[in-house]
Symmetry: D2
Subunit: 385 residues, 4 copies
């Protein structure tokens, strides 16, 4: 969260997402005398609110957000009210909950379960909710845009015990796994093994659809992450086994289907495949519950640049060679849309943001087009005159 | 581990297990002038080694261990050698591994995988292994006793990626789950849901045997355990949801079979059942992959006293009432023995230590019979004359 | 120090002093859209620099400082230069040192000794020094004002091993003590005892002037401040002895003159007098090496409000009653000026800032006159519209 | 403190001093089966108490202490009593205090002042005090030996606000300083400057006796020791100025007498003299309020080996050359005895332990004579058979 004392009073802002024109806005703000004490794009939003000529707080927020581009779900707090707002495309999630007389804004419904609150509804794309002593009000202050909820939330990002758009994330992942099994069966498979923990729901779906047994062939080492003893470099070099270990007796001599949610750089996949082979697996087939990750996300998911994405430059066959798997295959983009309940992807106006797979960015990437390097955002690194 | 400077040189000892005559030995040692700086029974062993009249280190260790009763697997280290030894009944595990030219002693084979070492074999009950610059030697210095490996290692204690007695722990747990399904089926069941993480392998076995789908109806909240922010009491009182959350959409209206490894005090089980009911489950049946836990372990597993064990005083039907489940049932003792590969439990000379279920303690509980209260072990609490 | 990214590039600022119109400036800045992320007046200065219409950095700094009132010595740093500046009255100190080819700016000369640097000179009131790769430049950009160096630096604030205005702080304190002895002798005194550590130099001066022996009748407990064990409340209530202890054998039956630099609220003085009496002193006379502290400082010394200053409402006789001393007396204002080398205080145009004694504030207290409560500086506490 | 559970019940022991036959006793104890978990000689005492054949606790303690040699003041605690005991020579101090109904044992009287307790008396050499619910009892269980209180407590070790043997430490130090002035005056001296903080009382005594002004020519930097920021090596190399700084204006052109309590290795003295010369002093004379430190202490004061003591191999003239002082002189041994109230040192049977100056060790140094290297005390470093 970000706090500041402004012309609109004291404000706290929490931000899920990423602005695509933050650098340019920041340059303009700095030129007109604004101070920046961080490199966060949230600070840009607060400056725009502070400088708005509008009088009322909601109007200031709307005024500020009309200047920004990008994907954002924001929660703002003043001394007397809280506000929640989602960008017009609704890329990032935001939900409304209720506990006794109070309202709760959160990214995911599982947060409500933890505190025993009740889910009310999703905030809509472009909707602004204000909650104060008079109650809750909703408005749609922005020009309407087509909905583009992030489809990667269904694949990986959201927690499996949440639901979004009235759909259970766990069920969606099982559906995706089932569709993956229909599209990419493995002949003679003995076991369906998830890469823990994120691959589990899709692997259950794949196993149920294919009739091949679901088995925990890879065990996650829960101890490692919990220790306060920082492993030394030497221990780190022992590799991925600090995080995962294979279930040797189970895998030996088997035709194994590994199910994972995505392949990013391929480093982990390669180690996992090697570990399964070392355990004696006869064949190792990798099945991925997303289309190939070919493009960077500029809307709030932390991903490497295009050039570092293995699928950006390599076909599934090449990837299989690189990670030493007998085969690698992905769910198709249409298959993914089917799994989440669409007849197929509407290529003229896709129902979701799938830019990381399709390269079709629904929100213009202003900073990127103007070749602003994120690394240069801090003028602290520039010389003064 | 425990370190001390002794007549036999400097010694380090690591101990898995529990002595059953430690209090009496300690009393005798203290009477003859020994100092105790901890309440650990390991310190008793070190004192016995230090006071042995034998000259050679191995002979001292054997001399000391002939005086102790209980379940123990020990690793001892001097400046020039390491030794591993298992008690004559072999209650606790101890394995030998190899990495390059070096030997490794560990409780479980999964420890070898982490460092990339090779499993050689289990140390045998009553076996003493010495490793020094001359290599590795084995001896059996104690009177032979019937093997009584702890059957609870198969149910819960060992890691699923280890193997013991040449059996995969994961496979054993699946077998136990399958046997549980045969003995205690649930009519009209919609889902088999493990209590994470320990109930997962048995639930997979149960699901495969029963043909009812395996589903993650309860999600473990991995964030909580990893945070450095200690939750306040108020947050703690929000209850078990900090650790687990239900998968509401999946459970609503369903006949749910929960699979867990054991019921100890019943507190967690009660919360889990309540959470599943709150999610809308129509029926909730609890199936336990062990016989009822009726007796305390005195051989190294940390369990509450008999009186605090729910099954010590209650039938499965009463337990179902207490935890608000539609039914509770357990695998039978014979069923458990079948699952781990025996025809049935040999009641005259059981193949495993199953004292926590049967109450038949294979090693005499000297301290307990002499009514030594563990709490009184520290004479620091007694008055001096 | 305060860092920010601004239109003038990245800036770091360290500030010794206090602005007297910060609240008003901050209000104006906030109204025009500035964000404040702290309650420090330094942030006001950085905003003014950022918003200046001037182009060159020095010109921006001068532009900003022409808008502020108060007492300040500033060190500013950009990527390419450092600058030092003192307010036109020169209330707070700032000195220039040299180490090899580099210049050093610091508040006191003792800082130079620590790093082995050489003292060059004091920065002058109203002087601005710029140091960059081209060397060092000096300018006097502000309207000339009468010098008003803080006389309390000589009494208490500066370190005794520093010198200011070419005068040794230690020598000045001894002179003040000697003048105090001439003005306020104690008949039949046996010992001159400093309240450690700040009263030591004045006590030495008093002893030398009066011919009465200087003795360490109060020992400072150096251990307490250094321990990592936080004393509990119960221990705190044991009182001032954690900080000081009396030298019982020395004080018993004696006529003791305690020398301290000032009496603020009187709490510590009362405990010290009580401790000396408990040690058996026959008489306890308190001599103070400053005039009565009657007024708050608004120029950078942290003092309580007028109403909490014991001398604001009480005569020396009343104070003696309150702290249970046989007598309390202070150096006179003219005596203080004599001790620091003036013939007498020039009442039309005093040579130093002595507002804390005289109530004559040389710089207008704008925020105070406009009744801006410092506590309200954070608009975070105000409601938003 | 050291805690253990023993045949005599639980014991806690705090030890001021050092045993001279600990190594030999430890060897014997280890041979008979004792475990050592530290390298402290206190552990030896506890073992001897635990192994005593006596029944009552006091008798056990006496039995144990009859076997040890060395200088010790001990406080022992059981569940029901506390005991205090001083070795027969009374080398180290131990005092008795009272607070309400309770007794307090401490090394120095200043500890009583901190908690507001009353000083009762010194524990006598060879005295054993027992305090329990029945009150306080005293006995003298050891063969009577001549008193040999550590004279270095008066010079440096005790706190100036304590008293011992009914003498004020502060007064004794002033007396020593006065005697030093009589024995070693400095012609034409301008200033008497203490090396802070330990040299202050002796310097006051020297100044009063000589009539030369006492001045704080060296300022101790209190900030450094209190910071949590660990100085880097580079900063450390800046030298002693992190601890001390000179008062330049005061010292310039002066004939300065520095008073310090002792010269150990000479490193600090050399830096101090250099610093005073850098400040412009014309002459620098070092006067030491103890005789030359020529011999290691084996009775509880942490000192380097003989060969590292500057005075072990060098005359005062040579030392003056080494530390670059104009002269160095020490108080004589007889002068020291006079200052603490004796007519002169009784060379047949000295009134104090002055081994560090005279080399006459009143208690036999058994371990040293048998060439036991302290470094070898841990058998952990030896090979086992």
């Amino acid at each position: 969260p970000f706090f500041a004392d402004t012309n609109a009073g004291g404000i706290g802002v929490a931000h899920n997402g990423n602005l695509t024109n933050a650098y340019g806005l920041r340059q303009d703000l700095v030129k007109s005398g604004a101070l920046f004490q961080s490199t966060s794009d949230t600070e840009v939003i607060v400056h725009l609110i502070a400088r708005s000529k509008e009088e009322k707080f909601e109007a200031r927020v709307v005024d500020a957000l009309k200047q920004v581009e990008g994907a954002y779900s924001l929660v703002l707090m003043t001394r007397k009210k809280i506000m929640g707002v989602r960008d017009p495309h609704g890329v990032r999630p935001l939900i409304l909950g209720k506990l006794n007389d109070g309202y709760i804004l959160a990214s995911e419904s599982c947060a409500l379960d933890i505190v025993g609150a009740e889910y009310v509804r999703d905030i809509q794309p472009g909707e602004l909710i204000t909650i104060d002593e008079k109650g809750m009000r909703s408005s749609f202050p922005f020009a309407k845009k087509p909905s583009r909820f992030c489809i990667f939330e269904y694949i990986y990002f959201a927690r499996p015990d949440s639901f979004m758009e009235d759909k259970s994330i766990y069920e969606m992942r099982k559906e995706i796994g089932a569709e993956l099994a229909r599209e990419n069966p493995v002949e003679g498979a003995d076991l369906i093994v998830p890469v823990p923990d994120s691959g589990v729901p899709a692997a259950i779906g794949y196993a149920q659809e294919s009739g091949v047994p679901f088995e925990l062939g890879i065990i996650r080492n829960h101890y490692v992450g919990r220790t306060f003893i920082e492993p030394t470099d030497k221990i780190r070099n022992l590799g991925v086994k600090l995080k995962h270990n294979s279930n040797r007796k189970l895998l030996a001599g088997k035709n194994v289907v590994l199910v994972d949610d995505s392949i990013v750089r391929g480093t982990t996949s390669k180690k996992i495949v090697e570990m399964v082979r070392d355990a004696g697996a006869k064949e190792v087939h990798m099945r991925i519950s997303s289309p190939p990750s070919k493009h960077s996300c500029f809307y709030g998911i932390d991903t490497p640049e295009d050039s570092e994405l293995l699928a950006h430059n390599h076909s599934p066959e090449e990837i299989a060679d690189i990670i030493k798997a007998d085969s690698v295959s992905y769910i198709s983009l249409d298959g993914l849309y089917r799994a989440v309940g669409q007849a197929r992807r509407n290529s003229d106006d896709p129902q979701y943001c799938d830019a990381c797979f399709s390269g079709e960015y629904p929100i213009f990437l202003t900073d990127r087009e103007e070749k602003h390097d994120k690394m240069k955002i801090s003028r602290l690194k520039e010389a003064s005159k």
